[in-house]
Amino acid sequence: MSSQEVSPTLSAGETRQPGRMAMTAVNFTGATIERIAVQTPVQTRLRNAKYTRGLSDRGIAWLFITPTIALLLAINIFPLIWMIRLSFTSLNLSMSYLPLRFVGLENYSDILTDDDVWIRLQTTARFVICSVALQVVIGFGLALLINRQFRTHSFWTTIILLPMMLSPAVVGNFWTLLFQPQIGPFNYVIGLFTGIPPSSFSMTGEVALAPWTIVLVDSWMWAPYVMLICLAGLRSIPDYIYEAAEVDRASSWRQFWSITLPMVMPFLMLAVLFRAIENFKMFDMVNLLTSGGPGSTTELVSITLKRAAFEKWQTGYSSALAIILFVTVFGAANIYVKVLNRVKQR
């Protein structure tokens, strides 16, 4: 085909089945196009096409890209650079009458030697790992079940999708009502099924339970996300492979391990990547559900950052923390994408 540039690194799972590029996927509007398509041969006459009236191709390309890049530079990159500079200062907005000092790497060393910060990072890591794992299990499981294509499955799929479409902040807020030991239904339902008295435990208030509570609510919201992706992966596996396996009399279990799992793996990994990034950034849902409590057991690193930056107004310190977080996530995502690409190549 014509000059198709290298597909970007993240187009995983792109199952370009032969013949896909045909007309079926394209919508025709207007008679003009049909006329052109019918009358003019579709052979590439690129050479002629490059020299058109008006702006040259290169001009247009840059004209089209520049606003986007400029906006991103202004809103993302310039502030990032400013933040790097701030991270070397002692700026505190609530004590702006104090003279501004350049403190070099003091903020960074403060952060990296602070036990509390490491604990927050651990809390965040545990949250990311547990929630993504749970979502993968539930999502993949649901996808496998839905893939059986029982009747009304598309209706129920839509129902399952609903939690995902809510604002995480609003979700965190109303789950505090649902988790109230006295007035919320959650404890009562658990009490109904297990006989544990509803007022004897508090999902958001107990040290042992709170970390699992945030995992639970997050998975309630996002397991459908993983489910959708796995569903796409499952549906991309051509039937003939399964048929061939049938002919070879492979058991269903064997088929699952050798066919289904490997072919869905790139999709799963993509889902894991996106969910992990999102949960690393998580702030709104957890802040409204537990305020990082009890104590600091569910205080994710974004919550610490928000408190340092917007409640204590320690701008310099929090800038350093933000830079550290960015480097961490960027580095991790980079590594992961490379692994993902290698899996995709298989």
Binding site: G13, P79, A169, G184, E246, F280, F310
Partner: protein, 319 residues
């Protein structure tokens, strides 16, 4: 599927009715359990204040529209004598409020907040889709140097925690007098959305065969005319889908909104969790606000079902 596959009872390709039944049962069970919290919240919107915080929680209750009325009004508590001295209540909501020894003192802020959500949501979506379409077209059709890196850079701008990004933006906006302005929020959301828009639209535009443009170019159209007459009409579905995804992000966004707005430009997500009643949160009003706020998104989800997968994975996965 071949006939042979269809007839095999144990084929993985087409499950047996028994397997389908089991699968169906599990999925329905999960769906029902997963939807229950939302049903509870929807019901809470129709409870009275005391029913909403009753213990044990009430499953059967007398429905009332108090939650919705409380959401839209600001009330003050008065003594019964004072209320008796007022002219009699005319509208149904006045009567409802008077029953609790309260008087409506004016409209609440929910409508301006909802309008803010609309304005900021649609404004940033429009800009993001506009910029995104142009950039996506360029990435798709032209050989841009370092295209891969640029695209990854565009994607990576979404990896930063919003709280982190908000720190310098807050300072920047203070200098530029953009804090708590709709324009400031629109700019910010556009910048965040444009990454999603570029990735999605590139995927959509990639799927449009180049032959049509090239034919148009051969016919003497300029690039821009080819873009307008040939590509855009075919990309409209993709553009619409992208627009809705950008809208959903701006609609539900909380971190930037709560840190950078407080009044004029405040949207619904920072507003809803702080709807306070007389003591504690006004849960029926909060539930009412949640319900109203989610309706557009639910509608969009149903409209968007075909493109949902593509949208939530930045265009990386297409059905």
């Amino acid at each position: 599927m071949t006939a042979a596959a269809k007839s095999t009872a144990h084929s993985v390709v087409e499950a047996s009715p028994r397997v389908k039944g089991f699968a169906g049962a599990f999925v329905v069970l999960y769906a029902v359990v997963a939807i229950l919290p939302l049903v509870w919240i929807g019901a809470t919107a129709f409870k009275s204040q005391s029913d909403a915080i009753a213990y044990p929680p009430k499953v059967i209750f007398q429905p009332t529209l108090e939650g919705y009325v409380n959401l839209f009004t600001v009330r003050t508590r008065q003594t019964s004598d004072f209320i008796a001295s007022l002219p009699p209540a005319t509208t149904w909501y006045d009567k409802l409020v008077r029953n609790h020894d309260m008087v409506i003192a004016g409209p609440s802020k929910v409508v301006p907040r909802f309008v803010n959500s609309l304005v900021i949501g649609f404004g940033s979506t429009f800009l993001a889709v506009l910029l995104g379409t142009l950039a996506a077209y360029a990435f798709s059709r032209f050989r841009i140097p370092l295209a891969d890196d640029l695209l990854f850079f565009i994607l990576s701008t979404r990896m930063m925690p919003p709280v982190a990004v908000a720190i310098p933006i807050y300072l920047m906006y203070r200098q530029l007098n953009l804090t708590d302005t709709k324009i400031g929020m629109i700019l910010l959301y556009t910048a965040v959305n444009v990454s999603l828009a570029v990735w999605l639209l590139k995927g959509f535009i990639d799927e449009i065969p180049r032959e049509y443009e090239e034919a148009a170019l051969v016919d003497g159209y300029t690039r821009l005319q080819a873009l307008r007459k040939v590509v855009l009409p075919q990309a409209v579905t993709g553009i619409a889908a992208t627009a809705i995804f950008c809208l959903i992000f701006s609609w539900n966004e909380y971190a930037f909104a709560v840190l950078l707005t407080s009044g004029d430009a405040q949207t619904m997500p920072p507003f809803i969790p702080f709807i306070i009643g007389e003591g504690g949160q006004d849960w029926p009003a909060v539930a009412a606000a949640t319900t109203l706020f989610v309706i557009p998104i639910v509608l969009f989800t149903i409209v968007l079902r075909r493109h949902l997968l593509r949208g939530i994975t930045f265009g990386a996965v297409r059905k």
